[in-house]
Amino acid sequence: MDEPLERRAVISGAAQSDIGRRLHRSGLDLTIEAALRAIDDAGLTVDDIDGLSTYPGSGGPFGGASGAELHDALRLSLNWRDGGLETSGQLGAVHKAVLAVGAGLARHVLVFRTVVEGSGGPVRASAAGGGMPPAFRYLIPYGAASAANWVACYANRHMHDYGTTREQLGAVAINARNHAASNPKAIYTEPMTMEDYLEARLVSEPFGLYDCDVPCDGSTAVVVSHRDHAGDAPEVPIQVNALGTAHRGRPSWDQFDDLTTMGMRDSAASLWERTELTPEDVDTAQLYDGFSWLTLAWIEAMGFCQRGEGGPFVEDGTRIAHGGALPLNTWGGQLSGGRLHGFGFLHEAVMQLRGQAHLQVEDAEVAVVGAGGGPECGALLLTRGLT
């Protein structure tokens, strides 16, 4: 096949703002901090940025800052701008930036995701009614106001069909906590035992408190550049190898055709269709853990094990630990690092491939990132250096 368009793009810069539970700073303030750091990290100036992409953009229920706000605050002069919710999950903002660079619409695209959920409190369902999004019309009337409820149904069915256990879900949470101890920006760093995990209060069975990610404030920004402009970057460029963008099932939290997987089934399949690399080539996996079970679903979707075998794959934690065969969520994931909504995984993958991670995987050359749950998923395969 022709070389996939995404190979024209590299990640030339990556950075984060301060991250915390309640920073009491505006989303725009955090975004500017991450953006300026990422631009500097790429060896660029603000004037070099000619593209801007964000998730979810304005109008979403949980945006931290809109592209327009940053555009205006920095007085950017852009050849391309995009922001929106209806894409390949949170990483869709990166996918679109990569395609814009590949198409020549922009040379250096700043991509960001900002969250202020630590200060802002949870997004609560309104009891007022009126204008309910169609996706929620059959969930909200039943008190299923949270993604915790929707994902829990899938997790429970996975347990029923495959014998997955709470202890196996706990292995994902404990792995994240162990790794977070090395991340100075992580939210939860105290050691957690399986007993601690199992004794935490229940949220929506089978999920307890530590199966759910921790809301935080923070912004992550990356710069996506055309590979022809990567030579001047101070850091080794991170090559975009493949995008995982497919949505082959119904775009619904409750009507997806298989109750033991979600949209990641299609994201991951489409990613491997666009590369000569295979799951065996992956040195570290950064896989979404908005809820612990989502990571199992991503592991299975990515082909690191067979369908239904995600539980045994993570059991006892040695395989997914730093130093194991598939070091997973080495920054602490959203479960302990903080709910940076997909972009924390991307940032960590870049740091690992540069050799700059806090908990470095030796000789990391290939990293896979999968973000999202329900029908809102997307994936990225990244490699170290230009190929």
Binding site: G130, A148, S204
Partner: protein, 148 residues
């Protein structure tokens, strides 16, 4: 054993707390129970059912939609016991789940599973519809088949 939670969406005074907000195509779903029958969107051309109701048949792309009475019998495909007070009027714990209807198991209905101990709910359990009147609506819930 945990207690039976018959009607998680109604407070002690019987005031409806369920937020039902039909779109342009699915008003009938929420009022169908007035005569005791569950109705699902069906195509006038190929007669197949689909859900949620849409102004086109997803199979033959026919444009004629008609609510079709179904048996109200189904099977629990997945469920969770919710413990977190996410919404006013819904006092945990209560069961939320997906029920697949007997006429077509691809028709999956979000619902509360009521009328039994929470510990008794299982994937694969057969259930039947029961309606809870809530303001202008009759909200379809499901209970174990044959239970009162």
């Amino acid at each position: 054993m945990r207690s039976v939670v018959a009607h998680p969406g109604a407070d002690v005074t019987g005031t409806p707390t369920r937020v039902v907000d039909p779109g342009p195509e699915d008003g009938f779903y929420w009022t169908s129970g007035a005569d005791g029958h569950l109705r699902i969107a069906g195509c006038n051309d190929c007669e197949r059912l689909h859900h949620p109701p849409a102004p086109v048949c997803p199979y033959c792309h026919g444009r004629g939609l008609e609510p079709k009475v179904v048996s109200g019998q189904g099977t629990v495909a997945a469920f969770t016991i919710n413990h977190q007070p996410f919404m006013p009027g819904f006092d945990p714990p209560y069961a939320f789940g997906f029920v697949e209807i007997d006429e077509d198991p691809t028709i999956r209905l979000g619902t509360n599973i009521v009328g039994c101990e929470l510990d008794a709910i299982r994937v694969g359990m057969t259930v039947e519809v029961t309606f809870e009147e809530s303001g202008d609506y009759f909200v379809p819930l499901f209970k174990p088949t044959g239970s009162t």
